[in-house]
């Protein structure tokens, strides 16, 4: 009985966080007249899938009227290479910073750490200048992919470094005596031990890149935009009436991938953040 207040408080907190999601869900299944005539919390009379269909393939966004699905695909084309490349480079960086230490390794690491506290806005202008010089301004691939890889490196390097610090150095020394070189040790000894931290980093990067709006809106042209920017355009493109149900459905579609990733790999996330490295 003494736990009752705790459960009460937790239930309230859960309701507080779930309420917007609930409103989005019910609204997305309502028709426009229903939205106008009913309370915001009321359940839909019948589950109407029009808004979902329209958001996916019919809504007008900028100059196109194909719904958000081209942009949804854009987001995948962005997130897959950006996550893989930034995670891979982060792993190599972490491996070097812990097991192939060189003069000034600590300074490099602290400079990289600084990268995790930079706000997005700081890099907008210099990055735009660099992209102009490289003639990749406005592109999704490689332009926006590059932005996310570079911005993500500080985080991925930090994750891998902190994980590899816990892997005994004797393993690397033993492998060197056994005749393995830099990449072979990484591939055969370090990577097989890295599953938890690869999952953590991949989830983190996937969520950050998928949900990012600012870089997408600044660095891509209209047909190359990721889904987050498309939703904003959808909401902004008001014709005669504001289609609340379509907006909600589009936003929910855009949220599905991160949810799926978290459900599939979430256990690794918790394990990777709490568990130490493997014992030698």
């Amino acid at each position: 009985m003494r736990r009752l207040p705790i459960y009460l408080l937790l239930t309230l907190a859960a309701l507080f966080f779930l309420l917007p999601l609930y409103i989005m869900l019910v609204t997305s299944f309502k028709t426009m007249p229903e939205i106008y005539n009913q309370g915001i919390l009321a359940l839909p009379r019948q589950f109407d899938l029009y808004a979902w269909r329209h958001a996916w393939s019919g809504a007008t966004i900028g100059a196109s009227n194909q719904g958000i699905h081209p942009f949804f695909i854009n987001s995948f084309e962005l997130v897959i290479p950006a996550v893989i490349i930034s995670t891979a480079i982060g792993a190599i960086n972490g491996y070097i910073l812990t097991h192939w230490r060189f003069r000034g390794a600590n300074i490099i690491f602290y400079l990289l750490l600084l990268g995790t506290v930079f706000p997005f806005q700081i890099i907008l202008l210099p990055m735009a200048w660099v992209q102009g010089k490289l003639h990749i301004a406005g592109t999704l691939i490689p332009g926006l992919v590059m932005v996310h890889i570079i911005y993500g490196l500080a985080f991925t390097t930090l994750f891998f470094r902190n994980y590899y610090v816990g892997i005994p150095h004797d393993l690397v020394r033993a492998a060197r005596v056994d005749g393995a070189g830099f990449f072979r040790i990484f591939w055969r000894v370090m990577l097989p031990l890295s599953t938890p931290i690869i999952m953590v980093t991949a989830i983190w990067q996937f969520t950050m890149i998928w949900n990012n709006f600012l870089f997408g809106v600044v660095f891509t042209n209209s047909d190359q935009q990721p889904v987050t920017v498309a939703i904003n355009d959808l909401v902004d493109t008001v014709t005669s009436v504001h289609m609340w149900n379509v907006d909600m459905a589009a936003a929910l579609i855009a949220a599905i991938p991160t949810l799926v990733v978290y459900l599939l790999a979430g256990k690794y996330f918790v394990r990777g953040l709490t568990g130490g490295a493997v014992k030698g």
Partner: protein
């Protein structure tokens, strides 16, 4: 086949010099033990031989081949680590095969070597397990197996037994020694355990503060220590050290314990040492005598002159094969080692005989050997 020569090895970290010119030359296929307290530089020296650390100066020669600057994999060495350092993600089989694959040994030959090694170390039934499924002793065997599979010219061991329990340690000790005889290869073995050093080594290098204090056979290190550090470091319980003053008596040159009240006890100086100690007359010097050289009166070998003194028993420690007697000579504590059948009681008196022939003498200032 292997002969290791270290010439004037120096190592500094910044301004800190940790090895001050190490010179060692082993015979063919010798078992060299590097021993010393922690921080003496023995592990650094091993890492330099392995190529895992860079020497600041000096030469390393293995079978007249200069190893300086070569990467570990080109030195024809294998190493066993204190932590075993087995690759956690690989099975025992792959742990052993890894080095062979790296060296592009043909597959059929690899399998043959694997089976030979597994049989030699009796780990055939463990080949498909992962390191975490093995006990400490089994992990140790696999680590040794991984090193043997390479058939190196030189084996390096970095305190390989210090993580094992006492019983297993004794077993593995004799096993490594047997392997050394079987494989006919040079080994360098780092330890801080003086029993391991004494039992395993053909050649022992006692190190302290980056300097070799003495290099020699186990017998010479134990019976003929070069200085007070070596005398005190090797042997358990440690050698007794007493401040004494040589003086001329009617019976010849004798020792008086420094600071003794009244007449005190006189210890005779054996004739062979009288010459060396005559120059120290009246000066305070250090007498070193091992516990087993202060023992039952009945234990003298033929022709050996013993000097017996009656002393108080303060404490007894029966170890089984013999009993340690803690006593006091003119105010300075002493440990003696007697036969367990000797009847003794705490608080009573007992007669102990000093084998002065085996005693050693040191300069109290710099610890160097006087006689």
């Amino acid at each position: 086949m292997g002969k290791l020569i270290l010439q004037d090895i120096h190592k500094s970290y910044g301004k800190d010099e940790v090895l001050h010119g190490i010179n060692i030359e082993t015979g063919e296929n010798q078992f060299l033990v590097l021993i010393g307290p922690s921080g003496c530089g023995k592990t650094t020296l091993l890492n330099i031989i392995a190529g895992l650390e860079q020497e600041s100066g000096g030469d390393i020669l293995l079978n007249d081949r200069r190893l300086n600057g070569l990467s570990p994999k080109d030195r024809d060495i294998a190493m066993v680590f204190q932590s075993y350092a087995l690759y956690p993600s690989m099975t025992v089989r792959n742990n052993i095969l890894f080095a062979l694959e790296n060296r592009k040994v043909p597959k059929a030959e690899r399998e043959q070597i694997l089976m030979d090694v597994a049989r030699m170390l009796q780990i055939e039934h463990l080949l498909d397990r992962r390191p975490r499924q093995l006990s400490g002793g089994q992990q140790q065997r696999v680590a040794i197996g991984r090193a043997i599979a390479r058939r190196p010219t030189l084996f390096l061991f970095d305190e390989p037994l210090s993580n094992l329990d006492a019983k297993l340690r004794v077993e593995m000790r004799s096993e490594i020694k047997r392997l050394h005889q079987q494989l006919q290869t040079s080994m360098v073995y780092v330890t801080h355990d003086q029993i391991e050093a004494m039992t395993m080594g053909d050649l022992i290098a006692v190190m302290n503060e980056g300097i070799i204090q003495q290099l020699g056979s186990p017998e010479s290190i134990y019976n003929d220590p070069a200085n007070r550090f070596v005398a005190g470091f090797m042997g358990s319980p440690s050698m007794n050290f007493l401040p004494v003053v040589p003086r001329e008596e009617t019976s010849g040159l004798c020792l008086r314990v420094a600071g003794a009240e009244g007449d005190g006890n006189l210890l005779p100086i054996p004739p062979k040492m009288q010459g060396a100690l005559r120059s120290q007359l009246g000066r305070r010097i250090t007498l070193g005598i091992r516990p087993e050289q202060i023992t039952d009166p009945g234990s003298a070998r033929e022709g050996e002159a013993l000097h017996s003194i009656e002393l108080d028993v303060e404490l007894l420690e029966p170890t089984g094969p013999d009993t340690l007697v803690f006593t006091r000579l003119d105010g300075h504590s002493l440990v003696a080692r007697v036969h367990p059948s000797t009847y003794l009681q705490i608080g009573s008196r007992c007669t102990l005989s000093f084998h002065m022939e085996r005693a050693v003498f040191f300069d109290p200032e710099n610890g160097s050997r006087l006689a």
